[in-house]
Symmetry: C2
Subunit: 351 residues, 2 copies
DNA sequence: GCGAGCATGGCAACCATCCGGGATGTGGCC
DNA sequence: GGCCACATCCCGGATGGTTGCCATGCTCGC
């Protein structure tokens, strides 16, 4: 309620001096500064961010758009981003697109008019849509996280998705699996396409023929993964192991296996990309390929603030981080040939 | 970059007409409005939120402070709040206090200077601290969520924590348990104290003597719950069932049981407050008392916007929502007396 | 021809910041 | 001892973009 004028009046100085006392203490004598600060405290004055941003042409706000806030991957990302941003004096405007490109678009509009100093974007839309919308508000620095796309020259922080998928697939192969199912994300986005590529690479490296019937696209969502898993396990020759390309799909897969009455890892081995806090609490403890989520968040904020402060300019680049395998209990050697014969004899698994 | 002036010039109208075209279409003729809108599109103009809030004395921002963004309860709350707020034209400034009252205090300062229109606060500090800090910036409407405190006359949306704890404890009693451990939250906050009270009420109702040795405070955190569970199970007469007063403590408890080599529900039954998406995916599927999280978020936003729009005034009230029991697989009848004798004979459980 | 009503424009206010200028005081040098 | 140069402090005023209020001017109808 109190304005800078009220403070100035109470302290018996000019408005400018009040401002200087706060923002550039060197310009004001110690004594006067104390008098001003005391007045500020008395009136419980706080500068109005709106007026300040109007004058400074910068808001001290960072926009963060994630695809699904309930996904633990993004939750952890949000935590990291908020923490670092806050340390650097920025507040975070959180937007959740809920996997809806239209909502993402709307959020971008809002962020633009809020005049945020920068945007961290985990895009949900396909590339073309995002491109057109982003082009319209190119003024503010943007850093992509998780999913990248070329063509706009933006900075991006992503996982080495090929490597991650390779690690997961290779782990299953080492345990003796040859028929490995894949719950894939949409190949229209880099995380989907690259993880599929890594899976194929790993198969190739072990001279296992790629079987398209074992790859089902499940849109990174739980329910679709559930359906896909049921379909996979009802194949004439079901896979002995399944690799889910993200955490949500791993959940759907586990639920399906449970309903189908299949035990893990006894009947089928399971691995996924994305580690999360609860993966090691229940049975089976999930073997996963973990992403350095926190590091991704920190790096994204750093790239962004570097650009905001002008320490970084020109075309952006893609920063690729490495995943690592976390071995727990959900992967075992495949069931014996005899048993798989039995399974094959009865197409619909018991429940 | 384009200002309202540029638009006015291009459309050949005054600045005021541009503003009216956007905000009060009735005041401008159809034809002129179209000309203006076209100019806006051509120049890709967006009003600057800072200037607008300066003029309107309101920012269109809602502050949301949660205690721990990685806790699924708060995650879901954030999702609900963001969704509804966005629908109502508000953006959400997300703050994560990470269970640190000092950070919460800092976030409050920031929100105050951002001149947010309202604050939804899931406070982490004890009552006295929050009280003093909140008093200093009483100008903006505040709605408490999850944890309430009296004295400031603020609106609050909370769970009927007594009922929830009663439901959980009673369920265990019905299954035949008489020695029921409690991993309690800190009794300095309402959620901690009320859940303890509900536990005691349920015991009393079934004429089971309250045994203080079976109640350990674990601060709503995972690691402390882990330690507490180990301690509980090493008692001369360990409980046959344990009730964790929130989700994080349930996780810690499950981890401890796993390390101790105790099977659930065979060796010990388990129940907790807070349901979450993964509770029914792994083994054992957790029996929980679910909170209507989404509803809590919606109600909090509604109360807040009602106040912001002046539809609501005067002293706030506490709104209590009911939990419901979700029965899954983690509660069974207690082990036979013979077996508990055996357990008692060997104080340190095998691992 | 006059009045009513509507479309449009002008102007001030919102509040913090920053640039440049002005005022005061101090020290040194002739 | 007096004057000038300089440093230290402080203040005035302009700036930014938008909106609400009020005035103006125009047109249409009676």
């Amino acid at each position: 309620m109190a304005t800078i004028r009220d403070v100035a009046k109470l302290a018996g100085v000019s408005v400018a001096t009040v401002s200087n006392s706060v923002n550039d203490p060197g310009r004001v004598s110690e004594q006067l500064r104390n008098r001003v600060l005391k007045a500020i405290e008395t009136l419980n004055y706080a500068p109005r961010a709106a007026a300040r941003s109007l004058r400074k042409q910068s808001s001290g706000l960072l926009g963060l758009i994630v695809a699904d806030i309930t996904n633990p991957f993004f939750t952890e990302l949000v935590q990291a981003v908020e923490g670092i941003a806050s340390q650097q004096g920025f507040s975070v405007l959180l937007c959740n697109s809920d996997e809806d490109p239209a909502r993402e678009e709307k959020h971008l509009q809002v962020l633009r008019s809020q005049w945020v100093d920068g945007i961290i974007l985990a895009t949900t839309g396909d590339v073309s849509l995002s491109r057109s919308s982003l082009l319209s508000q190119i003024r503010v620095p943007v850093v992509l996280v998780d999913r990248a796309f070329d063509g706009l020259g933006l900075d991006a922080v992503v996982l080495d998705n090929r490597l991650a998928a390779h690690q997961a697939t290779e782990h299953l192969i080492r345990r003796g699996h040859r028929r490995i199912g894949l719950l894939s994300g949409p190949t229209s986005v880099t995380t989907g396409a690259d993880r599929l590529a890594g899976y194929r690479e790993a198969l190739l490296a072990s001279q296992i023929r790629f079987d398209p019937a074992l790859v089902l696209e499940a849109g990174f969502r739980e329910q679709q993964a559930y359906d896909a898993t049921v379909a996979l396990m009802r194949l004439p020759q079901p896979p002995t192991a399944v690799f889910a390309a993200n955490n949500l799909m791993a959940i759907g897969m586990m639920r399906a296996l449970s309903v189908l009455g299949l035990r893990c890892p006894d009947d089928v081995s399971v691995i996924s990309i994305d580690d999360f806090a609860w993966a090691n609490v229940f049975r089976p403890k999930l073997t996963t390929v973990a992403q350095p989520v926190r590091q991704m968040g920190e790096m994204a904020v750093q790239l962004l603030t570097d650009r905001i402060h002008g320490h970084r300019s020109g075309t952006g680049s893609t920063h690729m981080l490495e995943s690592h395998l976390v071995i727990r209990e959900s992967c075992a050697a495949p069931v014996q040939a005899a048993q798989s014969e039995a399974t094959r004899a009865e197409p619909a698994p018991s429940r």
